[in-house]
Symmetry: C2
Subunit: 979 residues, 2 copies
C-alpha cells in the first residue's frame, strides 16, 4: 500500500462536476472566495477585549488560497510567505494569485503548528473558528455543501495535506475524500450515479484516516482487502465490485473500532479537525526528527495544513491526472518531462498498474488542456525562475493545477539548469552560482563506471536488470534486502546496494546508508527516486524483471540468481544493474563544460566581493589552494582551479621504497657522521620532488611543511617486533637457530631496543614536528636546503617558484625563534651558492591550542599561519582521531552530543573560536599575515563559510575537493561579502 | 686559595693608623667627606653644554658614602638606593648616614655598570672623571695620598669590590690593597716600619689583581708560593719572611707578564680603573649568567663598584677582625652569633688557620669596642628591621664597620626570626609573613632522620665525621667527589652527597644537584655553608677529620674508608655524617609552633584582603584545599590547614588488591547483567571510602571526581600479554603444555583480545573521563550512588558531609547535559531512600582546551569548575607529559625555549590565558561559579599567585604542600589584594 505517498491521490468524484467544472480560473476562484476570506478576517479582527494578554486574538491563522490581502499583511516577502503557509500552501496561494486554475481551499498556517506544539497538541480556538469560516467560504465558491444534506447540492469533499517550508520526501501526510460519511457517501452515490466510486472513495478515506490520523498499521486494512480479493479471485483493486467495497467499508469501520475503541467520526468537521491535528503532530514526530537529523537541521520544521477541494482525473476519457518537471530533472535539458494517465487517479501513476504516457502525448489526447498546461507551466517557471515540479488533474476537460514547486534534480541537472537559465537571462550569474550546492559539484566529480569494462560485462551477459534511471551515478556494493541490514553493514564499513520491491519512508535510514538503490516498482517520481536524488545516491527504480523473494532473500532476473551479500554494480544514469563489480573511473573535470563555466563565475564572484577582514582592511575573496605531496597531484589541483599548494607533506616522500632504508639508517644512527651521511643521501630525492612541484605550480605559492610525524613511524611496529623476537627467542630454547634466523633475531632485537626507546605513550603529543626539528636540526636543514636548491634550479629553467616553508606543531614562539633564523640562513646560503633569488616565506602551522592562544607573539616571527585543523581539533577536544572515530565519537554524533563529527565539519563554537582569536591576534601583530587552513575541513562547505567569515586568505583541501571549495567560497562571498 | 671569597679580607696596614684611627665615627667620617662630595657633585653638575643630546652630561654616576644629598636626588626610596648603589654600597652609605663608623669611600653606581655594558665594556667618561674627584675627596678626608709620593703622608690604600642589588654568594669580586706599587710599597714599609707587612700586602694585590682583573688562573700564583714554602720547609703563609715575600712579588709580576704579555700597572689610577672594569665585566660574565639562571631571573643584575679606604685588624693585640649575625642564622634564636680573631686579617677567619673566638669573648678582650659593636649592631637590626650579617674590623682599638646586610638564614631561622620580630613589634604580622618564603616552609616539612635509627647508627660506630652544622636538614646519597659528577648523577636520577675539601663558585652547579654537601674545610660562613643555606641543601662543613684523596676518590675518617658512590647520610642540623643510609621521617607540622603561628597569620591576611574577582564582585582570600584520595590523607590535609578536598580520585580505590579482580570482571563483562553484578560488588567499597572522607572533612567541601582513566589501565599491559602468549604459543610447537600452562595461555589470549580491542593510539586523548561515563553509564551511576549513600549515612551519625561531584574531561556542554541530570536523579533518589538531605554540587573539570574556550556554555550547567592544570597543560601544549619529561622537554627547559617546566609552574602566557578567559566567561554565565585548580600547580607559589590574580576561589594541592600554599596565598593577597 502506498496511501502515505505524497503525490497524486485524487479519487474521482463525478458528482462534483458542476460547480468545480466552471472555475474559469480567475473569475470563479477569486471573487467567490474573497468575501468569505474577508468575513473570516473580519470576524477574527474583532477581539473580545483589547487585552494585551491576548495578542493572538486578532491574529490571522487561516488563509484562503485567494486571500491576497491577508497574506500580504502577514508575510512581507515570498520567503516569509513560504514560512507562513509552507511550500505547498504558498504554491497554491501563489498559483491562485497568478490566475492559475487551482481548486478552492485554504491553509492553516505553520504558526498554528507552532502554537499547537507549544500548547501541548491543541489547535488554538481562534484558528479553528477561522478554519470553519474558511470551509464556509469554500462551500460558497464551489456551490457544494460540506457534510451534505442539502437537496440538489453536492457534498463537498476535500483533501487535507501537510506542507512544511521545505519539502520533505516521505514526510507528506495526506487524507483524501474528507467529508464522506455514511450519509454523504449515499448522496454522492446518488448524485454521481456511480455507487462503486462513492464506496471506493469512502473505503480510501477510512484507510487513510485510520492509518494517518489514528495510527493504525496499514496491514490491518491490507489484510481484509487481500482476503476479499483472494476470495473473489481478482488481482486489482479496480476489479472489486460496489458490494465488495461496501463490505470493505463495514470491515474498515470495525477495524477502526477494534484498534482504537471508537467509531470513525461521522461528523465531517471532526474529520477535518482530526486530520489537521494528525498533520501537526507529525511535524514533531519520530519521522520528522529522523529527517531533520539527516538533513543536519537543529529542529524539526513546523508544517502548515492545506485543505483543498477534491478534483478528479478519473471522470472519464476527458479526464486525466499527471505529474511533470518543466525541464529534465536528470540531465537538465530544457524539455518538459512528465507522465499522465487518462481516466485515472494520481495514485495510479505511482502504483505502476498502468503505464503512464509521456507528457508530449497529451498534445494529441487533450490538445486544449495541453496547450493551457504548457502556458501555465511556462509561466510558473518564469515566475519562480526555476524548474518546476507540478501536479495536475484534468477533470472533464478542465485543467486544475494541484501543486507547483521547485523540482528536485540531479547534480548534473542542477548545474545545467543554473547555467542555462543564467545564459537565458532568466537568472543572474550570482543566482546560478547560489542554485548549485557544493554537494552537486561533489557528486559530479564522483567516479563513474569504466566504459569498456561496463560494455564487456553486458556482452558477457552480466546485465541483471534495467529500469528507470532514477538517480544518476555509479555504485558497487553488496545486496542488502532491508534497510536495517543496509544500515548495519554500512556501520561495519561495507559497501551496500539496497534492494527493495519499493521503498517507504521507514526505509530512509537504510537508503542513506547505501551506495546505491535498486527497486522493482515505481518510476522517476517514486519515493525511492526522490530520496535517492536528494541524497545523491545512485538509483535504478521500477526494474520490473526483478523477482524478489523476501523470505529467501534471493532475487532472480535475466537468468541470474543472486543472494543477499552478492556484489552488484548499479548505474543510475543508464538505469541498469550489473552482476558483480565493475571498475569505476573518475570523470574528467575539464570535460564538464557547464561545471567549468559555473565555477568560473564562482571565482569571479569570489574575487569581486569585498570582505572586511579582521585587521580592518578589505580583502578580496577566499582563495582555494590544494594539499598535494607529488607533482601529479599538484597538476591535478591546478586543473581543478587551485591557486596554490597549501600543504605539501614532505614525510610522505620518506616512505617510498628506495628511500625508507636510508631514512631508517638516519634514524638509527648513533653518530652524527652516520646521520649526516644518510641525510646527504636523502637530499637529492627531496630536491627532485620539490622541483617537480615548483614546475607544476609555477607562479603560484607552494607551502612545504617540514617533517612532522614521529620517527618511529618509519620503523617497524613495536608489537610486531616483540612478537617476532619472542618467537625466535623461545624457539632457540628448543633448537639451534640457523644463520639467517640468528641474524634476523639479532637485527630485530636491536631494532626493538631502538623502537622501545622511541616508544611514546601518546605519539600524537610526542616528539614530532618542530620538536623533532629542534632535536635533529640536521634533518630540517637538509629539507630547507633541498627546497631552495630545487627552487633555484627550476628558476634557472625559467619557472617561477614561490616556496613557503612551513614549520609544523609550533606551540611556543621560542621554538620558532630557535629554528627559523637558522633555516633562513640555510635558504640564503643556497641562494648565494646558486646565484639566484627566489621569493619565499617562512611560517608555521597553528595546530597546537597554545599556538592559537599566543598567536600574537608567534605572528611576530611567522610570516604566515596555516591552521592544521585536524590536529587543532584533536588537541582542542582532546580526541585522538584514530581512536575516537572508531570509538565514542560515533555514539557522540548519534546521540547528538556533538552536532557533527568535528573532524568533518569544523567545530565553530570551540575550535573556531580559537582560530578566530588567533587570526585577530596574529593580524594585530603582523597586518600582512597570510592565513589559511590545510586540514580536511578545507573542503567542507560549512567550514569554508566559517573560514570566510573568520578572515582566512585561503582554504587548502585535497585536489578533488577544489571545485567544491571554489563554489563554497563563492557562496560565502555572496552570503557575507560586500560589493 | 680563597682569594675570591667575599668576606673578611682586609690585610693590615699599620701605617694608615693616624687619620683612620681618629674617626670618632660621626665627626670624622661625615664632615670630612662632605665638602669633597659637594665638589664632586658640583663639578659634574656643570655640563659642557645644555645640549639635549647629552642628557648624561649632568648625571651623577659616583656617590661618596656620605653624599646624602646626591643619593637623595638620585634615589627616592630605600629600594631605589639599593638599586642605584647595590646592596653593599647602599649599606655603606646608610651606615655612614646613621653615624656608624665606616672608612671613607665611594660607589660607582649600578647605572655605570648598565652604561658600561651598553657601550661595549667602556666606563662613561663622565663617570670616570667623577670617580677621580671622589678619590680626591677620600684623600682629603683620610689625609692620605693615593699613589703616595708626598713626604710625611701615608699612601692611601683602597679596596675595590662589587656589590649588586641582591647579594650573590660566590659572585663577589674583590681586590684589596689597591694603591700599592713598587714605589708606595717602599713608602709604606718605611712609614709602618713593617716591610714584611708591606710586601705581604703587595703580593696579595698582585694575586688578586692577576686573578680577578686579568683572569689568570689561581694556580699560577699558588704554585710558586707552594714552591717557596716547600723550599723553606714552612707550612703557613705567615711563616714566610720579608725576603720570601719580596721574591714572590717579583715572581708574581713575571707571572702577570708571562700570562698577559704586559706589566702589572704601576699607575694606581689605572689599577682602580681596571679593577672597576673587571667588576663591571663580571656582572654579565658566565658565572653571573649561571647564577641568574639558578635563581630564575630573566637577566643578570648590574653591579656597583665600591671603593673603600683600607683598615686593618692585624695591627697588634689591640686590633681584631670578625663577622657576626645579630641572631642565630641556623635556629633563629635571639642571640648574637659571630667569630673574631685578634691581630688578624678577615681572611684568616675563613681560612681556618687559627680558631676564631666566639663574639661574646670580645666583651673581655676589648670591652670598649665590644660595647660599641653591640650598640651599633643593635641599632642596625632595628634600622633594617631584620637580622644583620655584619663584618667589622677593630683597628688599634677603633671599631670600623665594613658591611651590614640582611643575613642569610635557614628556613627554621627565617620563620622564628619573622615570628619573634612580629611579637617584638619590630615588624608587622604582614611583614613577618612576607619575610618567609614558601621554600622555607617547604624545607621545614622535609623529612628528617628517624631519631632511634640515627642513634643506633652512632652506637654501632657508623659516625663518619662531625663538623659545623652549616645548613640543616637530612640527606642520604651516594658520595660524589666533584661537582660535574654530582650533576651527572643527579641527571640520572641518583641521590648525591657532594664531598669536597671546600667549595668554590665553580662548584655551584654540582651543589644544587646534590641532596647534601660535606666539606672538610670552612665554617658556618664558608662558601659551602652560604650556598647550601640559600638553596636549602643540608650541609656539614669543616669536618676536619675527613682525609680526602681526590686522586683515588676515597675518604678516610673515624676508622671508615669510603669510595666514590658509597652511601652516606648527612645531618645538617646536627653537623654529622653517618656511613650508610639512615631512614628519614617527616617532622610533625603541628609541633612546629612558629610555623603554625605564622601560617595562622597568613590565613588571617588571606581572609582580610579583598580582591576584585573577574565577575566584578569582591571575594575574600584564596583558600587552600587538598588533593586526597583516602581518609588518612584527608586527615593530614586538615591538620595542615586545608579548607576542603579539591580532588578525590576515585579510581585509585579500584587498584586495591581485593577490588581489582572485581573491576576487571566489570570491564570484561560481555553482558549487562555481569557488569551490573560487578558494579554492585564495588558499591560498598566505594561507599566506605567516601564515608571515611566525609567524616574526616566534616563541615568542609569534598570534591569527588568520577572515574577518569581509560579502562585498560586496570588490565595487564598489552606488550606483556603479547610476549607471554607468544612464548607459550611457540613452546606449544615443541612440547605439550601442561594443564596450568594451557589454562594460562587460554586466559591470556582472551585478555589479549580484550586489551587489543581497548588499545588506543593515544590513551591520553581517548576513552576516559566523561566519555567513559557516557559509554558505561552504570559505572558512574554506581559511584554517585556510593557518594550519596555515604553522605547520608555519615550525616545520620552527626557529621556534616558536603559532597561535590566532579565530572572529568568535559569538552562539550552537551556531555554534561547528557550525564549530569541523570546523576542528580540518582543523588536525589538516594536522599529520598535514606530520608536525609545533604548539601551538594555538581561540577566539572576544565582540562580540555575546548572546555575552557566554551566555559560560558559549560557554566550554565556546571556549578563549579576545577582546572585540571596537568591535563590542560598537556592538551594546550600538545605534550604527553610522560613522554615529554623524559624527552624533548628537558632540552626545551635547558635551552630556554621554555622558561620553566610547564608541568611544575603554570604557563601563564598560554594555559593561563585560557584559564583566565574561562573564569571570566564562566562567571559571566554563573556569577556564583566556584573555581579552583587541582593540578600539581596548586602547590607551586608562582602558579598560586596567578590563581589569585585570575580569580580562583581555591587551589588544591597535595596535603604536604598545603602549608606552602597557605603562605603563597597570603603572599599573593599582600601583593595584589586590597584592604
Amino acid at each position: 500500500m502506498a496511501v502515505k505517498k505524497e503525490s497524486l491521490k485524487k479519487p474521482a468524484l463525478a458528482a462534483v462536476k458542476k460547480p468545480a467544472a466552471k472555475p474559469a480560473a480567475k473569475s470563479v476562484a477569486k471573487p467567490a472566495a474573497k468575501p468569505a476570506a474577508k468575513s473570516a478576517a473580519k470576524s477574527v479582527a474583532k477581539p473580545a477585549a483589547k487585552s494585551v494578554a491576548k495578542p493572538a486574538a486578532n491574529k490571522q491563522w487561516v488563509f484562503l488560497f485567494n486571500d491576497e490581502k491577508g497574506v500580504a499583511k502577514a508575510a512581507v516577502s515570498w520567503s516569509a510567505t513560504r514560512e507562513l503557509l509552507g511550500g505547498k500552501g504558498a504554491g497554491l496561494f501563489d498559483m491562485t494569485r497568478k490566475g492559475v486554475p487551482v481548486p478552492p481551499g485554504f491553509t492553516l498556517s505553520t504558526e498554528v503548528c507552532d502554537e499547537f506544539v507549544r500548547a501541548g497538541n491543541k489547535i488554538p480556538k481562534d484558528a479553528w473558528e477561522q478554519a470553519l469560516k474558511a470551509v464556509a467560504a469554500v462551500e460558497k465558491s464551489t456551490g457544494k455543501v460540506f457534510g451534505g444534506g442539502k437537496k440538489g447540492k453536492t457534498p463537498l469533499l476535500i483533501s487535507v495535506r501537510s506542507g512544511a517550508r521545505e519539502s520533505m520526501p516521505g514526510m507528506m501526510e495526506t487524507v483524501l475524500n474528507v467529508g464522506l460519511n455514511d450519509k454523504t457517501v449515499e448522496e454522492i452515490a446518488a448524485i454521481s450515479n456511480n455507487p462503486r466510486f462513492a464506496y471506493d472513495s469512502y473505503r480510501r478515506l477510512l484507510m487513510m484516516f485510520g492509518a494517518t490520523v489514528l495510527g493504525i498499521d496499514d496491514e490491518k486494512f491490507d489484510e481484509p482487502m487481500d482476503h476479499i480479493k483472494h476470495e473473489k479471485g481478482v488481482k486489482l483493486d479496480t476489479e472489486l465490485t460496489t458490494e465488495d467495497l461496501q463490505q470493505l467499508v463495514a470491515i474498515f469501520k470495525s477495524v477502526i473500532k477494534a484498534e482504537t475503541g471508537r467509531d470513525f467520526p461521522q461528523d465531517v468537521y471532526q474529520q477535518i479537525q482530526e486530520c489537521a491535528m494528525a498533520v501537526f503532530r507529525s511535524a514533531t514526530g519520530h519521522k520528522a526528527k529522523t529527517y531533520a537529523k539527516q538533513m543536519g537541521w537543529k529542529n524539526t520544521l513546523p508544517t502548515a495544513v492545506n485543505v483543498c477541494t477534491m478534483v478528479f482525473g478519473n471522470m472519464g476519457e476527458n479526464s486525466a491526472t499527471g505529474v511533470a518537471f518543466t525541464r529534465d530533472p536528470s540531465t537538465g535539458e530544457k524539455t518538459m518531462l512528465g507522465e499522465y494517465l487518462i481516466n485515472a487517479q494520481g495514485e495510479d501513476v505511482v502504483a505502476g498498474i498502468r503505464t503512464p504516457n509521456p507528457i508530449a502525448a497529451l498534445a494529441k489526447d487533450m490538445p486544449k488542456a495541453y496547450k493551457q498546461f504548457m502556458t501555465v507551466t511556462g509561466m510558473l517557471e518564469k515566475k519562480y525562475q526555476n524548474m518546476q515540479d507540478v501536479e495536475f488533474t484534468v477533470e472533464d476537460g478542465t485543467l486544475w493545477m494541484l501543486q507547483t514547486r521547485n523540482g528536485k534534480r540531479t547534480a548534473k541537472a542542477a548545474i545545467k539548469i543554473a547555467v542555462d537559465m543564467a545564459k537565458e537571462k532568466l537568472i543572474s550569474k550570482e543566482e546560478a552560482v547560489t542554485r548549485v550546492s557544493p554537494a552537486d559539484v561533489d557528486f559530479l566529480l564522483h567516479p563513474q563506471f569504466d566504459g569498456d569494462q561496463y560494455m564487456n560485462a553486458k556482452v558477457e551477459g552480466r546485465l541483471l536488470t534495467s529500469g528507470v534511471n532514477a538517480s544518476p551515478g555509479a555504485a558497487v556494493g553488496m545486496l542488502a534486502f532491508d534497510a536495517d541490514l543496509a544500515e548495519a553493514w554500512h556501520a561495519e564499513g561495507k559497501a551496500v546496494i539496497l534492494l527493495r520491491p519499493e521503498t517507504k519512508p521507514d526505509d530512509v535510514h537504510g537508503m542513506v546508508a547505501s551506495k546505491g538503490i535498486l527497486t522493482a516498482r515505481g518510476g522517476a517520481t517514486s519515493h525511492a527516486a526522490v530520496v535517492a536524488r536528494q541524497f545523491g545516491i545512485p538509483a535504478v527504480c521500477g526494474a520490473d524483471s526483478l523477482q524478489i523473494d523476501m523470505a529467501a532473500r534471493t532475487v532472480v532476473s535475466n537468468g541470474h540468481m543472486l543472494r543477499q551479500g552478492d556484489w552488484v554494480s548499479v548505474d543510475g544514469a543508464r538505469g541498469e544493474a550489473i552482476v558483480g563489480q565493475v571498475t569505476m573511473v573518475t570523470p574528467k573535470f575539464e570535460e564538464q563544460a557547464d561545471l567549468v563555466t559555473l565555477l568560473g563565475w564562482a571565482d569571479e564572484i569570489s574575487a569581486q566581493k569585498t570582505r572586511q577582514d579582521t585587521a580592518g582592511k578589505p580583502a578580496r575573496g577566499l582563495q582555494v589552494w590544494a594539499n598535494a605531496d607529488y607533482p601529479k597531484d599538484a597538476e591535478r589541483a591546478r586543473q581543478f582551479g587551485a591557486q596554490g599548494i597549501g600543504l605539501c607533506r614532505t614525510e610522505h616522500m620518506f616512505f617510498e621504497e628506495v628511500r625508507l632504508p636510508i631514512v631508517q639508517r638516519m634514524i638509527l644512527a648513533k653518530e652524527d657522521a652516520t646521520r649526516d651521511a644518510a641525510l646527504n643521501e636523502l637530499l637529492p630525492f627531496q630536491r627532485e620532488d620539490f622541483a617537480g612541484l615548483f614546475k607544476a605550480m609555477t607562479g603560484l605559492p607552494v607551502i612545504i611543511r617540514l617533517i612532522d610525524p614521529p620517527l618511529h613511524e618509519f620503523l617497524p611496529a613495536q608489537d610486531d617486533l616483540i612478537k617476532e623476537t619472542t618467537q625466535l627467542q623461545t624457539k632457540r630454547r628448543y633448537e639451534a637457530l640457523n644463520d639467517s634466523e640468528r641474524a634476523e633475531l639479532s637485527h630485530k632485537e636491536e631494532l626493538l631496543v631502538a623502537v622501545s626507546q622511541m616508544h611514546e605513550q601518546n605519539p600524537m603529543m610526542g616528539l614530532r614536528g618542530i620538536r623533532l626539528g629542534i632535536m635533529l636540526p640536521g634533518l630540517i636543514q637538509m629539507q630547507v636546503r633541498a627546497i631552495f636548491e630545487a627552487a633555484c634550479d627550476v628558476k634557472k629553467e625559467g619557472f617561477e617558484p614561490i616556496p613557503e616553508v612551513m614549520i609544523p606543531l609550533t606551540g611556543h614562539v621560542n621554538e620558532l625563534l630557535k629554528v627559523q633564523p637558522v633555516l633562513e640562513q640555510v635558504a640564503k646560503a643556497v641562494m648565494t651558492e646558486k646565484g639566484v633569488t627566489v621569493k619565499y616565506k617562512f611560517g608555521t602551522m597553528i595546530e597546537i591550542p597554545r599556538a592559537a592562544v599566543t598567536a600574537s607573539e608567534i605572528a611576530k616571527v611567522a610570516q604566515f599561519f596555516s591552521f592544521g585543523t585536524n590536529d587543532l581539533t584533536q588537541m582542542t577536544f582532546g580526541y585522538s582521531r584514530d581512536d575516537a572515530e572508531r570509538g565514542f565519537l560515533l555514539k557522540y554524533v548519534e546521540d547528538g552530543i556533538l552536532p557533527k563529527n568535528p573532524f568533518q565539519t569544523l567545530d565553530q563554537d570551540g575550535v573556531g573560536r580559537l582560530m578566530q582569536s588567533a587570526i585577530n591576534d596574529g593580524r594585530a601583530s603582523r597586518p600582512s599575515l597570510e592565513v589559511g587552513i590545510c586540514g580536511e575541513h578545507g573542503g567542507d562547505p560549512d567550514s569554508i563559510d566559517f573560514c570566510y567569515r573568520a578572515g582566512n586568505n585561503y582554504v587548502s583541501c585535497s585536489p578533488f575537493r577544489v571545485p567544491i571549495a571554489r563554489l563554497a567560497a563563492a557562496h560565502a562571498a555572496l552570503k557575507h561579502g560586500k560589493k
